[in-house]
C-alpha cells in the first residue's frame, strides 16, 4: 500500500514537471506576438557591441498618469494590468493601465501583467516592470549597442511566460 502510494506521488511530481514543460514548449504556436520599442539608455556604460545580457527600458515601462483608469497601484511590486494596442508601424503602445484586470478586445490588442515599481513625480510617470527587461544572449540577434533604440519582438504565453524571438534596430 505504502509502496503504491509512494510511486503515485513520484508519478504526480513527474506529471507536474512534464505538464509544465509541455505547456511552455507550446509557446511558438500559441504565444501572442508583440513588438515593443526600447528607449535608448541615457547613460551608456560602455560604447561597444553587447555580447551577452542586455538590460533595456521599454517605452511601455513608463506609463503616464493619464493612461491609468480609476484604479491606481499602491504597493511596490503589486500587480498591474497593461493594455497594449498596435500602432501603424505594428509596434504595440500603452493604451490603458489598471490595477484591476483588463481584457484585450481583438487581434491588435494585448494585455501584459507587470509589477508596479514607483511613481516619478517630476515626469508624472508610473514605472512598471514586466520581467523581460533583461534579454539574455542578445548577440544571437545581431550586433547592438547600449545607445541603440531597438524593436524587440516577443511571444507572450500563458502564466507569465515570454520568449524573445527577434531584435532589430528602430528606423533601420
Amino acid at each position: 500500500m505504502k509502496r503504491l502510494l509512494f510511486y503515485l506521488v513520484i508519478l504526480l511530481q513527474l506529471f507536474v514537471l512534464l505538464f509544465l514543460i509541455f505547456q511552455f514548449e507550446k509557446i511558438d504556436q500559441t504565444g501572442h506576438e508583440v513588438k515593443i520599442q526600447t528607449l535608448s539608455s541615457d547613460f551608456p556604460v560602455y560604447d561597444d557591441f553587447i555580447r551577452s545580457d542586455l538590460y533595456v527600458d521599454y517605452d511601455i515601462n513608463k506609463i503616464a498618469s493619464d493612461k491609468w483608469n480609476d484604479s491606481l497601484p499602491s504597493d511596490y511590486n503589486s500587480r498591474v494590468y497593461v493594455l497594449l494596442q498596435k500602432d501603424k508601424m505594428n509596434v504595440y503602445r500603452t493604451r490603458e493601465a489598471s490595477a484591476d484586470k483588463l481584457e484585450a478586445k481583438g487581434e491588435d490588442e494585448a494585455v501584459l501583467v507587470g509589477t508596479y515599481q514607483y511613481y516619478d513625480v517630476d515626469r508624472d510617470v508610473y514605472y512598471v516592470n514586466y520581467g523581460f527587461e533583461k534579454i539574455k544572449g542578445v548577440d544571437q540577434f545581431g550586433g547592438f549597442k547600449q545607445t541603440d533604440q531597438l524593436i524587440v519582438t516577443l511571444l507572450i504565453g500563458k502564466w507569465g511566460q515570454y520568449k524573445v524571438i527577434n531584435i532589430e534596430k528602430w528606423n533601420e
Partner: protein, 410 residues
C-alpha cells in the same frame, strides 16, 4: 541521560549501597551509545542540496535546455527510487543495518524532494516565466506534505515546513501580497502533523512560522499596524484550547515573545510625530480587541489566575498621551511580576520568562533614553555593564532558589 554521567552517578550509588556493581553494569549496558553518524549523512544531503540549487540558478555553460531538464528529472527519479529501495530494505534486516538503511533511504528521498523543487525552478528559468505569485513554491510545499504522509521523516518535515514559511515571506517581499493558499496549507496540512506528532522541533518551528505569517498578514492586509496586537492575542488565546501540552506551551511562549518584540518596535514608533499624525484610530479595532480580551480574561481567571498578567501585554496603549512610556511601563510590570511570583513560588520557567523580559525591557528603555544623550562608546559600555549586572544578580537569585528547591525535595 548521558552514559558517562550515569556511570559517575552510578558509582556514588554503589558506594552508598543503593545498588550493587552488577546492577550498575546491567543498567549501563541498557544505554547504548547513540550513533551520531546520521548527522554526517544529514549534512552531506544538505550540502548537495544547496550545491544543486546554486548550480541550477547559475547559467550552465552552453548546455541546451532540453538536456538540462532531462538530467535533472532523471536525477530526481533515481534518488526517489534508490531511497525507496533502501527504505524498503530497512524492514527486512536486523536492527543495526536496518537503521543505517533507513537513514540512507530517507537521505535519498530528501535529495529527490530538493531536486523536484530545483527542477521546477529550472523549468521556469529555462522557459523565461515571470511568475506573479508564489504558485511554484506552493506546489513544492504540497509535494512535501504528500511525501511526509508516506515517509514520516522529521528532517523531511522540517524542510517542507520551512519551505512553506518561506513561501509566505517570499510572497510578501517579491509581490507585496499575502498568500492565503500558503497560509491554508500551513494551518491545515502542516498543523495536522504538528498536532499529532508532538515533536518539540516541529512545535517551535510551527509557532515561529505562525507568528511570521501573522506579521506579514498585518503588514500587507490590515489597515493599521495595531491590528498586530489582535492577531497575537488571537494566537495566544487559541493556543489555550489545544489539548496537547507541549504544542500549547510553544504557541503561548512564541506569542508572548512576539508581542514583546512588537512592543519594543512600537515604543520606538510611537515617538515619531509623523507616525502619530498618520495613524487613524479605528473603533472596530477596539470593539474586537475588547471582546477578545474579555474572553481571555474570563477564561484565564477560571483556569489560571496567576497568569492574568500576560493579558497586560495585549492591552492597546497607543491612543494615550506619551504612549511609548506606557508601553515600556507595561513591559516592566509584566517582567517584574513574573520575577516576583516566579521566585516566590519557585516556578523555574516563569523565572526564565521574567529574567528574559526584564533584560529586554531594560535594554529597550535604556536605548530610548540614552541613545541620543550619551556618547556612543559610553552608551554601549554602560549598556553592556548594565545587562551584565542584571543577568548576574538574577542568575544568582535563580541558582539559590534552585538549590532551596532541591533541598526541599530531598
Amino acid at each position: 541521560m548521558n552514559k558517562e554521567k550515569l556511570r559517575k552517578e552510578g558509582k556514588n550509588w554503589v558506594k552508598d549501597g543503593i545498588i550493587t556493581d552488577q546492577q550498575l553494569e546491567a543498567i549501563l549496558n541498557k544505554y547504548v551509545k547513540k550513533d551520531q553518524s546520521y548527522l554526517l549523512i544529514l549534512f552531506s544531503v544538505l550540502l548537495i542540496g544547496i550545491g544543486v540549487l546554486i548550480f541550477i540558478f547559475s547559467d550552465w555553460a552552453q548546455v541546451p535546455h532540453f538536456s538540462r531538464l532531462s538530467i535533472m528529472i532523471f536525477c530526481m527519479l533515481t534518488f526517489y527510487i534508490v531511497g525507496h529501495y533502501f527504505a524498503k530494505r530497512s524492514t527486512t534486516q536486523e536492527e543495526d543495518s536496518q537503521r543505517r538503511s533507513h537513514i540512507y533511504g530517507m537521505s535519498f528521498i530528501i535529495l529527490g524532494y530538493i531536486f523536484f523543487g530545483a527542477t521546477l525552478f529550472l523549468i521556469l528559468n529555462v522557459y523565461q516565466v515571470h511568475y506573479l505569485n508564489v504558485w511554484p513554491f506552493i506546489i513544492w510545499s504540497i509535494v512535501g506534505l504528500l511525501l511526509y504522509s508516506i515517509y514520516e521523516n522529521p528532517t523531511l518535515f522540517v524542510l517542507a515546513l520551512l519551505i512553506t514559511i518561506f513561501t509566505q515571506i517570499y510572497s510578501a517581499f517579491a509581490f507585496s501580497t499575502y498568500s492565503s493558499i500558503a497560509f491554508l496549507i500551513f494551518s491545515l496540512g502542516y498543523f495536522y502533523f504538528v498536532f499529532h506528532r508532538s515533536n518539540p522541533v516541529f512545535n517551535y518551528i510551527f509557532a515561529i512560522g505562525l507568528s511570521i505569517q501573522l506579521v506579514i498578514h498585518t503588514v500587507i492586509e490590515a489597515p493599521e499596524y495595531y491590528w498586530m496586537i489582535f492577531f497575537f492575542l488571537l494566537m495566544y488565546t487559541l493556543a489555550h484550547i489545544i489539548p496537547k501540552p507541549h504544542l500549547r506551551q510553544s504557541l503561548i511562549y512564541i506569542s508572548l515573545l512576539s508581542i514583546f518584540i512588537f512592543k519594543i518596535y512600537e515604543s520606538f514608533l510611537l515617538q515619531e510625530s509623523y507616525f502619530l499624525e498618520d495613524m487613524h484610530i479605528q473603533v472596530s479595532f477596539f470593539v474586537i480587541i475588547s471582546i477578545c480580551l474579555f474572553g481571555a480574561f474570563v477564561y484565564k481567571r477560571r483556569t489560571n489566575p496567576s497568569e492574568l498578567i500576560d493579558l497586560l501585554l495585549f492591552l492597546p496603549l497607543f491612543y494615550l498621551p506619551f504612549s511609548f512610556l506606557f508601553v515600556i511601563l507595561s513591559m516592566f510590570v509584566f517582567s517584574v511580576y513574573w520575577l516576583v511570583v516566579g521566585f516566590q513560588r519557585k516556578l523555574e520557567d516563569k523565572i526564565i520568562i521574567g529574567i528574559m523580559s526584564f533584560i529586554i525591557s531594560t535594554f529597550t528603555a535604556y536605548i530610548q533614553f540614552a541613545w541620543e544623550t550619551l556618547n556612543k562608546s559610553l552608551f554601549f559600555l554602560l549598556g553592556g555593564i548594565l545587562l551584565f549586572l542584571i543577568s548576574f544578580i538574577l542568575e544568582r537569585k535563580r541558582r539559590t532558589t534552585e538549590i532551596e528547591k532541591g533541598g526541599h525535595t530531598k
